[in-house]
């Protein structure tokens, strides 16, 4: 189940990765916990299929669906917060970075993948 809520309630268990997905134009990302063996492309598809429970979630899914409606690319944030292009088949475990996040029971370091989805727009006939 995805959440765009500010309070982080998705505590990944052993073998799971907290996947945070957004597009460059979004102010807030959506988070979902997924098995570490899931690929980036599958993660985004999983988010699109997730049941929405709020207006924020619905807007998120609409925006994400618009972004992936055509050719698109994936970027993930490295440990140094640099954006790196990744292939859709890249596994979450390969790009997960431990980040300290605050949970209801206190701050904890959990494996995270920050994914940015960017729609590809050719700039010309040779692109």
């Amino acid at each position: 189940m995805l959440t765009t809520q500010r309070a982080l309630t998705l505590q990944p268990q052993e073998g799971e990765v907290l996947t945070i997905v957004k597009t460059p134009g979004m102010m807030r990302a959506a988070s979902v916990k997924l098995p570490a063996g899931t690929s980036i492309g599958e993660s985004v598809q999983a988010l699109l299929r997730s049941p929405v429970t709020s207006d924020g979630d619905r807007r998120f899914v609409e925006n994400l669906r618009r972004e992936v409606s055509g050719p698109h690319n994936f970027f993930t944030a490295s440990a140094g917060n640099q954006m790196i292009e990744v292939m859709p088949q890249t596994k979450l475990a390969e790009v997960a970075v431990p980040r300290e996040l605050s949970f209801p029971d206190g701050p904890r370091k959990v494996p995270c993948v920050a994914v940015e989805v960017v729609q590809y727009a050719a700039v010309g006939i040779h692109a």
């Binding site: 102010m27 807030r28 925006n63 944030a77 292009e85 980040r99 996040l101 940015e116 960017v118 590809y120």
Partner: protein, 341 residues
């Protein structure tokens, strides 16, 4: 800057209490303008004074932002509050967009929202002096006083009250000049909040590091975000590593796309410039025409600085995926490859 007295195009105009009346017969009954000849014109309500002030603000907001930017540009920037805001508020707030809902970062995001220029720029906007009751005609505001109409007098009837000219007047140009002086003073005061060093506050470690980095290289880097000091300062975003048709291999943190710091969200790619890091670690302008294709959907109502960075990151990622800066980049090479089979 649009003249705040643009409503005088509708003259004669009457201001009474909280209302602006104009000549017209659409909704007659609000008032009457009685000319010296005895001819009577119906006055109808155009808008309230509050609406008038809002209209003036809305039509001048962009110009107002430019005015503050210009004030900021004329003040010293390095080591000033702009850097503090960038380092301590904007960067954590922007990065919280990527990494979730960490409480600490969320707090910073809240703080950045409070610091956003957009809403606060409205509060600095001085009210336009609109004397009331007054008759606005021939480029002057003529104050009205209660009285009785007699032949050869101009009068205004509103409800059961009759107003006549007091005999004084204010040229609109004088009122406008006074307002603009107040505006300039407010813009400078506003800019000083972001540029004047805060003598009382001890710089945080983050800020001290940023100042040290700027003194050394003229820039501050944090993740894929970049701040270039200068006049005006520039916000930038690193272009992700890729093989570029124009400059070959782009390593991590080597090339960035930047734009001048604006107080309003800037998504004008015509103002974007590419910067490259030299071997000495300094950033220099790399002159190249940009063509980024169609932009995606953006929430441009967010904090201006964050919206600008979001757009810059989009542009950086677009360049990395396109592997070129412009549609014509590498055309000849492609054609050559094509002709070679």
């Amino acid at each position: 800057m649009t003249s705040p007295y643009d409503f005088l195009r509708l003259q004669p105009v009457v201001t009474v209490g909280d209302r602006l009346l104009m000549r017209g017969s659409v909704t007659p009954g609000s008032g009457q303008l009685v000319m010296p000849s005895g001819k009577v014109f119906a006055l109808s309500e155009f808008c309230s004074m509050q609406e008038l002030q809002m209209r003036i603000l809305n039509s001048n907001r962009k110009a107002l932002c430019r005015m503050v930017e210009s004030a900021i540009a004329s003040l010293s920037l390095v080591g000033g509050e702009v850097l503090r805001v960038v380092v301590e508020e904007w960067i954590p707030a922007f990065q919280s967009r990527d990494f979730g809902e960490c409480a600490v970062v969320s707090d910073a995001a809240e703080a950045a929202n409070q610091l956003s220029f957009g809403p606060s720029i409205d509060s600095m906007f001085p009210a336009v002096p609109v004397p009331s009751p007054a008759l606005w005609v021939h480029g002057r505001a003529w104050p009205l006083v209660r009285g009785n109409w007699t032949t050869s007098m101009t009068a205004v009837n509103v409800g059961r009250r009759t107003f006549v000219l007091s005999g004084e007047y204010w040229p609109v140009s004088t009122l406008e000049k006074k307002w603009q002086q107040g505006l300039q003073a407010a813009a400078t005061a506003f800019a000083e909040r972001y540029t004047g060093p805060n003598q009382n506050a001890r710089p945080s470690t983050r800020l001290a590091n940023a100042r040290e980095q700027i003194a050394r290289t003229g820039a501050f880097e944090k993740g894929d975000l970049l701040f270039l000091s200068g006049n005006p300062p520039r916000l930038g975003c690193m272009i992700p590593p890729h093989e570029n048709i124009v400059i070959g291999h782009v390593g991590e943190g080597q090339v960035a796309i930047t734009t001048a710091l604006r107080l309003s969200a800037s998504t004008a790619t015509s103002e974007y410039q590419v910067y490259r890091k030299t071997s000495a670690g300094r950033w220099e302008h790399f002159s190249h025409i940009l063509c980024l294709g169609t932009a995606g959907h953006f929430y441009i109502d967010q904090d201006p600085a964050l919206a600008t960075w979001a757009h810059l990151r989009w542009a950086a990622e677009r360049i990395a995926t396109n592997r070129r800066f412009h549609v014509n980049d590498g055309v000849s090479r492609d054609e050559e490859n094509y002709s070679n089979g």
